[in-house]
Symmetry: C3
């Protein structure tokens, strides 16, 4: 915890996804909400099969799903999503001829049944 999933359409070939993941993690760490940087686990997946709306126009999306242990306030969640959206915006500029949507969702992980094991190397 937290777990971050970045899903994006694969028509954003100039996206440097490793750089973006590191920046997203840095934004999460800078929020002060997470005690240990090691806890932040992010992964990204490009989708070759996607459909935005019902048109065949050129459209792209990048969607961050941030899952955090339950208990944080709405205000904290809004701050987190605003910061992550800002990182997305910096990484994915507007492009002539391509409609792009950037989204950030924050969801709770049920705290009680969450189980974890750390195996230091």
């Amino acid at each position: 915890m937290p777990h971050l999933n970045l899903e994006y359409s694969d028509n954003l070939p100039e996206l440097k996804v490793d750089v973006l993941l590191l920046r997203l993690n840095n934004a999460l760490l800078a929020s002060g909400q997470f005690a240990d940087e090691l806890d932040i686990k992010s992964r990204a997946q490009a989708f070759a099969n996607y459909q935005v709306g019902t048109s065949l126009a050129a459209r792209a999306f990048a969607h961050v799903r941030l899952a955090i242990l339950s208990g944080r306030t709405e205000a904290v969640k809004k701050q987190l999503s605003a910061h992550l959206l800002e990182v997305l915006r910096e990484a994915i500029p507007a492009q002539p001829g391509l409609d792009i949507q950037l989204c950030v969702e924050v969801l709770d992980i049920e705290r009680e049944p969450y189980a974890k094991l750390h195996l230091p190397g």
Copy 2:
């Protein structure tokens, strides 16, 4: 919003996944629940590693996860899942020798922290 994820086992080689995504989006638009067709963002992923149950028999699945902003009624959600399941059923016919399960799940996206940016092309 809405976000749709289609996950399926890769032993359905005749599935035309791009056609299916477009039909799923059309069903969502036809529901009247979503004002702008552009908002509907769907993606699909075939899994090469999967296990249905504890048997090694030939089994397949296709699972739609529809995430919508919180606030819709149970009745609306049931209608949405029924329509999406019908689209799945039309796209994935029964096959002799292959046990297939089709599923549709509807879940809420927390409305307050959801953040979005639109970059028209």
Copy 3:
């Protein structure tokens, strides 16, 4: 139902993912919570793009997300996650020079709108 997603970083090359999925399903069946083994649908995905924390040290993760129909108690969910974590632990041993995190999350599927169709082969 249940749906299990195993997500892991692709720097665990010795992981036998098909064996692990079968063991996870067997653990779920042994829990006695699921009437029909056929209902247990698991899939796994290795991520080539991931970032654990803000360091570039060698780090890995494996994360199980178990989604079950709503209504089970906290105690049942905790038992399920503990059993699944134990299966992960047996499959993924500690490795010198690699920091590994294993996690299990249990979440509810909203019962009312869940729709399903079974097409026996």
